[in-house]
């Protein structure tokens, strides 16, 4: 009976919560948009690399863009009134509309907008089919915001396709499933794998609908999925550790970057996050573990930012994605 199931759900979730105990509330509130907990490097090597990368960026002549509240340090777009095109999430704000500039993953999940909010003219709240909508548009950027010149309502963007960095790379082994570790065993085993020297990623996957595409397996149906471990060094050690943990198909891949290195790149690029309408800004920066890369999303193409990243960061470790593209 549904009513009985609903009652059991309430009781079980409370029992789980009770068994888990009191969460560890931090002594201090967070700093605004610090992202400190999320981005904190896990090892001294990553911290040292972040410092080196930031120093190199500064030496390359790129100012670390100020965050909200430091207006006088902001780097303003150097091509005012340039015409751009793109697809964005627009939010109704009374009679007005605003462009919500945040990461692709965030966009797919929708509101609330936790990224940069860009003032918009030429598009009203009444133009949206509800309180928000995805719009393909062309518009001109200026210090006053985005002036829309053409617009078309579109569907929400699709979930980004996940692929391994080298889809053709051979896997070490494939064997039938003989059992599934418990949640605790899996967590402990993966912690041990992640702590190994040269670790470059680990995930559970199934083949996706298109060639080379993979789907992460988040539902716990792991008995016939593949555990993939990736490493820049000591691949045999990683594969052995994975084989001890996983009683199903295992794939061990060589990748160019360790997770420490990718985290350092992510932290360095996140330092360019800023509020407002500025081209030298990073909207979002995330690690694509199967792709062994950092995906950096920016408001618009910035040669200066791209050149600085190329010079200062690990070559090939990053993919730049722009929300707005210039109209030629």
């Amino acid at each position: 009976m549904t009513d009985d199931l609903e009652r059991r759900l309430r009781e079980t979730l409370r029992a789980v919560d009770h068994a888990a105990g009191e969460p560890r509330r931090p002594e201090r509130p967070p700093d605004a948009r610090s992202g400190a907990a999320r981005l904190a490097p896990s090892r001294p090597t990553a911290r040292a690399l972040v410092a080196a990368v930031l120093a190199a960026l500064l030496a390359a002549g790129v100012a670390v863009v100020a965050r909200r509240g430091d207006d006088d340090q902001r780097v303003v777009a150097d091509e005012p009134n340039a015409l751009y095109e793109g697809v964005g999430l627009f939010v109704a704000r009374g009679e007005r509309a605003e462009l919500c500039a945040q990461g692709t993953v965030d966009l797919i999940e929708g509101l609330p907008c936790t990224g940069t909010v860009v003032e918009v003219t030429g598009l009203d709240g009444s133009d949206l089919a509800g309180d928000h909508a995805y719009v393909r548009f062309t518009g001109r950027l200026s210090s006053d915001g985005l002036a829309i010149e053409s617009r078309e309502l579109v569907e929400a963007p699709a979930t980004p396709v996940l692929r391994r960095r080298d889809p053709g790379a051979p896997c070490a082994s494939s064997r039938p499933a003989t059992g599934v570790p418990s949640g605790e065993q899996l967590a402990d085993g993966l912690d041990a794998i992640r702590a190994r020297d040269g670790f470059g990623g680990a995930w559970i996957e199934r083949p996706g609908p298109r060639g080379g595409e993979i789907a992460l397996e988040p539902t716990g149906r792991v008995d016939d999925a593949t555990l993939v471990v990736a490493g820049a060094r000591d691949l045999s050690g990683l594969a052995d550790a994975a084989a001890q943990l996983w009683r199903g198909p295992i794939c061990a891949l060589t990748v160019p970057f360790t997770m420490d290195e990718l985290e350092a790149v992510q932290i360095a690029t996140a330092a360019f996050e800023c509020e407002g309408l500025f081209r030298d800004c990073v909207i979002a920066s995330s690690i694509d573990e199967p792709g062994n890369r950092v995906v950096v999303e920016t408001l618009a193409p910035s040669d200066r930012l791209e050149q600085a990243f190329d010079e200062a960061l690990l070559a090939g470790s990053m993919e730049l994605v722009e929300l707005l593209r210039p109209v030629r």
Partner: protein, 166 residues
Amino acid sequence: MREDDQEPRERAGPAGGTPSAPEFEETFARWSDFARLARLMLGSDLFAEELTQEAFARALPRWHEIENHEAYIRASLVRLCLNRMRRAGLERARLPHPPETLSPDDLALWDLVSRLAPRKRAAVVLRYYGDLTIDEIAAAMRSRRGTVASLLHRALADLRRELGRD
């Protein structure tokens, strides 16, 4: 409660700034409530605490613009949790409880809940742990009311089907 009161929308007013201590402390005092919700969605103490802190951090710059701080932080937290669940399929497996302290029935049902797809699981946790209304869940997940109702209906159907296999 009017629907407007449940929407995590911002209000017009001065942007940014440091929130006044009593106003902020009142919401921050509920930090553990948010972390508990996140923990049941993620199945991880560590990430629940991290993302709860992140949700507060993201709200701070626009604190004075937000009408309903609780709804805004909850919606931000739900989205962060969904992102985390999708990005890292492995992390879901970090069950936040020592199994021996749960009854076999609770353990079996919790195991099934933890296998639900992220959005179904989030809806179930918000509904049956958070005791939120459908409208409040829709606001937190930025989904339509019908979508939430459908998510819950399908989640319960999944659970009933799996329970029936035992």
